[in-house]
Symmetry: C2
Subunit: 464 residues, 2 copies
């Protein structure tokens, strides 16, 4: 191993970290999993360096783990046993911009907010918008197939990747997909990389589709007492062909949280906030907001109003995206941690699913902030958990399985947009069992072997 | 083999075809490839029957080939050696409709026009729109990842599949993906099925995303003398954030063809027609058409006009979709066949690519109608070929390789939306070589083995 590290030093010079204190930050992502200290961490500047690294690692059968923003919520980039950690932080450039052809070329370490700040000046944007976009990167968001707030119109990351440059475990550099919207090149390896969580190959370059920013965006804020009424509102909107730009909901505890953290008030008696953004043209935005408002009004919210005030809209959007950190304000003592549930159901199934989730919270005597992307049926639960209390940890685990089963019962999935990582492996098995599809696990294991015969890529993630 | 056929008779009753005259129609698709007569053709009614069939075929190592609409253009469903042909024609139902959740559930044999006729009455549509939509089916269009006229806004088929029920070569029935826009279930097997051309598994049910029909659609018809000016028009539109609903072009010979076949006139001196459809709201459609018209006008077309006349729009749309059959009117004698080129480049590269393609036509002394989806850079060439003339056939082959190389040179791909099948295997290899990505072929072969260890699924398609 010492010889191998010496070899790596020749490739990476001062961009290899070997001291314990330098390596500790790479033990964890944003989840509660404690990983092992990596053997070393390297900070490559280009795909050739990664290729050289992989040739050594495949020869010596040394495991590698990739890390970009470190904002993963399920332990995906947490080193699991001896491994070399590859930090993508120095590969963070926008390499090409082609507005007329609708794509950019970016390195994997580029942060999503940096990409969108750049694009917004040009009138374009990159739609995937996970709440962690300040930290989340191009590579990490592809690896988990991140979704976020705009998915009900724009889908998840997988719909925005045209092509990739990959370094295979063998060290070979290949291009998959390409620069065009259409292309047929046999099996879609590009698509397979979306959600691979670093277990198949290393993304070193991404060809990403971009889109023009809508002319106008307006917002409807509707406060409800009853979850059924809120749920019917979104079903009515979508059933009548109104696809919101974003459609979020927050429960009572979420509203209390943003009141505490950001001083945003809610009307008396509100148990749920439905926040609908509508994108349209200059001429149509007012009519479309009014149309949508009328449909929601018919369901009987406590208060409903339209806002076009950009500052107010931005403040609420940030409050919604910041719910993870502000939920920390609900802790009874500082060692409590937030574990996040991330299930998805067809949106029409959301009210019933939410009621069952609320019952499960009571059953396991847990406190959680419930919110999410109602437009695509994605429910998040920020669950407070005392990691030092074994009984508490067990109840949270049982609750996670309970909400997974609720999602499955209503035609949904156990994981929506945070990946599987270490945390949701058991839930994934539950889904495969429930759908009589255990053979898919065999297929996935065979696909893993097709890419990574030595098993050196991010071991033990997604499945064992 | 006789025993096996007897076993199949028990499963399929009178839905098994064994007589030569009944089997002949299954030897060909819409390409020029002559296949073998299958051992038998079966017409299953459900996935259980297909499961039973596959258990027999995997046990006996008998090859299977799937066929839906028979409109494939590259020989994908052409039986290649001894095989059982599975016709999906009896599995053509819409099983569920969920407008509020934005999806339908369909069987693979459902024709795309039948699906869209059904959805249009509900105010929704399924965007993938290959020119063969009258015959093309859900299963076939997934298997080739079909694109069509609306891809520049809506992408190709792969972006509209939420989940699939599959029968694996072993006979196991599994579900992949699901009913929701977001879902994380490990490797995206659903995505891998898009473009698999029947080589991995059998699609028996599809969960397809649907979308509201735009409020208004209008059209700009711009006739150009110069290809550069036409090309700059689309680059300018897209660069300024105007994404057309459809953006088609036709060359001079295409215009002559539709004049002959449908009596549609073009202004004197027109070498190219640019047909841009803009979708927008009631209030904005006129302004958006005017905005787009001004941008195109600045590039100097011979004639430019806007039409909102639905009959005129439908007539031209049908003429464009019917170019394949009307190109037959250009034949000098009736044995001539139309072979279709299907390359793609980033749209900004289209003018230069087209000029080079026109030179190649001259070099090989061939006649071809050039047209395609300029919005996504997809160029089609309907090439007239006399299959009885060896020299002619060879020149067409060389021309196909020449346009593939032109596409690659300009950052594109050798195949856009018709698949690889039997026809484009050599071109695919050329692309992998050109991109220094031959290792991807190994990956694809390994993936094939992961699904189909006995090699019984549609042998010899995509790669050898």
């Amino acid at each position: 191993m010492k010889d191998n590290i010496a070899e790596l030093r020749k490739i990476f010079g001062d961009r290899i970290l070997e001291k314990k204190e330098d390596l500790v930050p790479y033990m964890k992502d944003a989840s509660y999993f404690e990983g092992n200290i990596p053997l070393a961490a390297v900070i490559p500047k280009n795909s050739e360096e990664i290729s050289k690294l992989m040739k050594i690692c495949s020869r010596e059968k040394i495991q590698v783990v990739m890390r970009s923003g470190g904002s993963a919520l399920t332990g995906s980039p947490v080193p699991n046993g001896d491994s070399i950690l590859i930090s993508m932080s120095a590969m963070n450039r926008i390499l090409e911009t082609h507005l007329d052809d609708g794509y950019i070329v970016a390195e994997p370490g580029l942060r999503l907010d940096d990409l969108n700040n750049y694009l917004s000046k040009l009138g374009f944007f990159y739609p995937p918008d996970p709440a962690s976009s300040m930290a989340a990167t191009v590579g990490g968001s592809i690896s988990t197939n991140a979704g976020g707030l705009r998915a009900c119109t724009y889908g998840t990351t997988k719909e925005w990747i045209l092509g990739l440059e990959l370094v295979l475990p063998s060290g070979e550099i290949v291009e998959v997909g390409g620069r065009t919207l259409k292309r047929t090149k046999g099996y879609d390896i590009t698509a397979l990389m979306a959600g691979n969580e670093g277990t198949l190959a290393i993304i070193t370059k991404a060809y990403l589709k971009i889109w023009p920013i809508p002319e106008e965006i307006g917002r409807i804020l509707a406060y409800f007492k009853d979850v059924e009424k809120m749920g019917r509102s979104i079903s009515e909107l979508k059933g009548r062909g109104i696809i919101p730009y974003i459609a979020e909901f927050m429960d009572k505890l979420s509203l209390e949280t943003i009141k505490k953290a950001r001083n945003i008030d809610s009307p008396e008696g509100s148990n749920y906030l439905l926040m609908i953004d509508i994108a349209s043209t200059h001429e149509s935005i007012d009519r479309m907001l009014e149309d949508a408002k009328k449909i929601i009004e018919a369901e009987g919210p406590i208060v409903i109003r339209i806002t076009r005030d950009k500052d107010e809209m931005a403040k609420m959007y940030e409050a919604r995206k910041g719910l993870y950190s502000s939920s920390l304000g609900l802790r009874d003592f500082k060692d409590e941690y937030i574990e996040i549930g991330d299930v998805v159901v067809p949106p029409s199934q959301l009210p019933e699913s939410l009621m069952e989730i609320e019952s499960a919270l009571k059953e396991y005597n847990l406190k959680a902030v419930l919110f999410g992307h109602i437009g695509d049926g994605n429910i998040h639960a920020n669950i407070l958990v005392d990691l030092n209390n074994k009984d508490h940890v067990e109840r949270v685990e049982k609750f996670q399985m309970a909400i997974a089963k609720i999602a499955l019962k209503h035609g949904g999935s156990v994981s929506a947009e945070h990946g599987i990582g270490l945390e949701k492996k058991e839930l994934l098995l539950e889904e495969l069992r429930e759908r009589n599809s255990m053979e898919v696990l065999t297929l996935m294991k065979n696909i893993k072997k097709a890419f990574d015969p030595e098993g050196i890529m991010n071991r033990g993630k997604i499945f064992d």
